[in-house]
Amino acid sequence: MNARDEAQPATAASVTRRMTMIQALRSAMDVMLERDPNVVVFGQDVGYFGGVFRCTEGLQVKYGSSRVFDAPISEGGIVGCAIGMAAYGLRPVVEVQFADYFYPASDQIVSEAARLRYRSAGDFTAPLTIRMPCGGGIYGGQTHSQSPEALFTHVCGIRTVMPSNPYDAKGLLITCIENDDPVIFLEPKRIYNGPFDGYPDRPLVPWSAHPMGEVPEGYYTVPLEQAKVFRPGKDLTVITYGTMVYVSEAAANEAGIDAEIIDLRSLWPMDLPTVIESVKKTGRCVVVHEATKTSGFGAELVSLVQEHCFYHLEAPIERVAGWDTPYPHAQEWAYFPGPARVAAAMKRAMEN
């Protein structure tokens, strides 16, 4: 945790427990369903069954089917409905089963949720959270692997958030539910059960054996627009988020480079000062994400670093991303920007 984090008052409930990201997300919804009678949770298979990833397990039994319920297979319907509920005064937390399937809800997200406050000059607002499992590395093929964050960061009026560990997942989700802006909450499903460094053949270290799997049972928050220095370093700055935090860490270790890895957590609006401070210190920058490269969120990050740190840069900013192709099935590990590719970029950045 960096200094900015420590400045945040410790709101954490004292009792902690080892949780997977799934359990942490479930716990966040549990806490908020308990605290705020206006919170409702719905989506495909989230009710009785508890979600295809178990993120809402037991919540319907605990809170009843008017608070937690199954929805028809209609992403536009789910989000549109949630906007109407939010306009009434509820605080809906809805799930899109896979980020790959948010497209039918695009109009409701972009034209409606994002603009309600603006176009009505605050007369109506849409305090809703849209959770979607995202990312690859699970042999999900074309429609269970995408990372569409750049399609959201381009939209003014919404917040886009992506946690990388159970503690942040719960704290950020609670913050997002309480936030009065519409939030896209992206959950990298590859790290639901444990961190993933990009080596599919190595055994998974479960969150239960990982310090970041230590999660308070009760209510606590992790602030938005605050990045976390995941690994301090002085050679170069890696700006990344989600699964790629761990891939970048593995790459730095392999390359023997003392990289400062920044986990953005809030993609947009984002914590620019932490990024600027780090790049000004290291003079080198590598941006890493799973999403396809062209017009990906990385392009915005490169542009911001260029704009704000130009005279401190000692090398061109490197960008490691998914290739500009649909996410393939058989070629998964040639597609996924693994540690070798990230390490190569780090070395290039160090060469100059």
Partner: protein, 414 residues
């Protein structure tokens, strides 16, 4: 094997085009009083015939007949007629204001006034309408929404409650149960269902009223709204205003050929009515029926209102290029104002003199409101919300990047 004729693509066409009169027999109207009135707890499947019939109360002589003719306080009818005249005067003056370049754009509801106005009178305070851009009657029927303020919205001036951010006519009045209008068609239809579901989740007694045009029923959100309303038995009235046209496109291209939009409701398990939208009494009675259903936990109702778009689609449209110029005068359901006027006169509750006086009164009122609104400036003279206010309300709190952009704008303009 039989030799087959080549397949042919069917592209629906309206019978009437410029210079060729419309054959309105496609409408399938029923005589006033003929269509039955089921109990409010009728099962959706039991409304199948109503989805193809036409609920009408006022006959050609202006008498209220049949099972849908309910006892309505004369004061409500007088209020309704006055609101229709007010709306018509408002539309007519705003059309001129657009021609005079006082406002950039306008959309009338000429010929459709009865639907929004009678419906509004059938709702209760706290209910929420999710309108399109053609339900200004929902606002103009109220006494608590200042016309001056509405015109300020049209002018995007310094008194515009929406701070110049929205196109003219895209009003927002939460306090009047009038949801913020979006330029994206149909989106509000499903949102209304969500609002109604929220009311049910909270154990409230308020209901939602959703609005859509015939053309926009082809959007996916129409379908999602019907599905969700049915699945969750949402307390919502799903209004389809079939004014026969979507800009230049005849309702047959939206899927109205040889069927009705009301029938879609029945297909989704929703009680559905097809109603004469130019018959104030039928609109009021059907709206009350649907509201009663919703408020009694009996679920949603879809109502197709048959009417005719009397005016151009908007001030940017010229209907003489795609439909007969005198089409409206041949429309079999007539003019809602004339029909209610005739009825009220026959009841002794209105007179020609009162009618003319009311028309004058509203012309004067609208003229005065426009003058007053002009005092607060316009788009043309730059008296509007500040450029810096453009960055507000994107988020609840202004994020750093927007502060930087705002400061950049202010810095560069000084």
């Amino acid at each position: 094997m039989n030799p087959r004729e080549p397949l042919r693509l069917h592209v629906p066409e309206p019978s009437g085009r410029p210079g060729r009169e419309t054959d309105f027999s496609y409408l399938h109207t029923s005589p006033a009083g003929e269509v039955r009135r089921p109990p409010v707890d009728a099962s959706p499947a039991d409304t199948s015939d109503l989805a193809y019939g036409l609920v009408r109360v006022l006959d050609d002589e202006g008498r209220a007949v049949g099972p849908w003719a309910m006892e309505v306080d004369k004061e409500i009818l007088r209020k309704g007629l006055r609101a229709m005249l007010k709306t018509r005067a408002y539309d007519a003056r705003m059309l001129i204001a657009q021609r005079q370049k006082k406002i950039s754009f306008y959309m009338q509801c000429l010929g459709e006034e009865a639907i929004a106005i009678a419906h509004a009178l059938a709702l209760e305070p706290g209910d929420m309408c999710f309108p399109t851009y053609r339900q200004q009657g929902l606002l103009l029927v109220r006494d608590d929404i200042p016309m001056v303020e509405m015109i300020c919205q049209l002018m995007s001036n310094e008194r515009d409650p929406l701070k110049g951010r929205q196109l003219p006519v895209m009003y927002s009045y939460k306090r009047a149960g009038f949801f913020t209008i979006s330029g994206n068609l149909a989106t509000q239809f499903i949102q209304a269902v969500g609002w109604g579901m929220a009311s049910a989740i909270k154990g409230d007694t308020k209901i939602a009223s959703a609005w859509i045009g015939d053309g926009a029923t082809a959007e996916a959100d129409f379908h999602t709204a019907l599905t969700f309303a049915h699945v969750y038995r949402a307390p919502v009235i799903l209004n389809v205003v079939n004014n026969q046209w979507a800009i230049s496109t005849f309702q047959a291209i939206a899927g109205g050929e040889a069927t009705t939009f009301a029938a879609r409701g029945v297909g989704c398990g929703i009680a559905s009515l097809r109603v004469d939208g130019n018959d104030f009494l039928a609109v009021y009675a059907a709206s009350r029926w649907a509201a009663e259903r919703a408020r009694s936990n009996l679920g949603p109702t879809l109502i197709e209102w048959i009417t005719y778009r009397g005016g151009p689609h908007s001030t940017s449209d010229d209907p003489s290029r795609y439909r007969p110029a005198d089409d409206w005068s041949h429309f079999p359901l007539g003019d809602p104002v004339t029909r209610l006027k005739q009825h009220l006169i026959s009841l002794g509750a209105w007179s020609e003199e009162e009618h003319v006086a009311a028309q004058k009164e509203f012309e004067t009122q609208v003229g005065a409101a426009l003058k007053e609104a002009e005092r607060y400036g316009s788009l043309a003279d730059g008296h509007m919300a500040t450029a810096a206010s453009m960055f507000e309300d994107v988020y609840k709190e202004m994020p750093e990047h927007l502060k930087r952009q705002r400061d950049q704008l202010l810095g560069e303009s000084t």
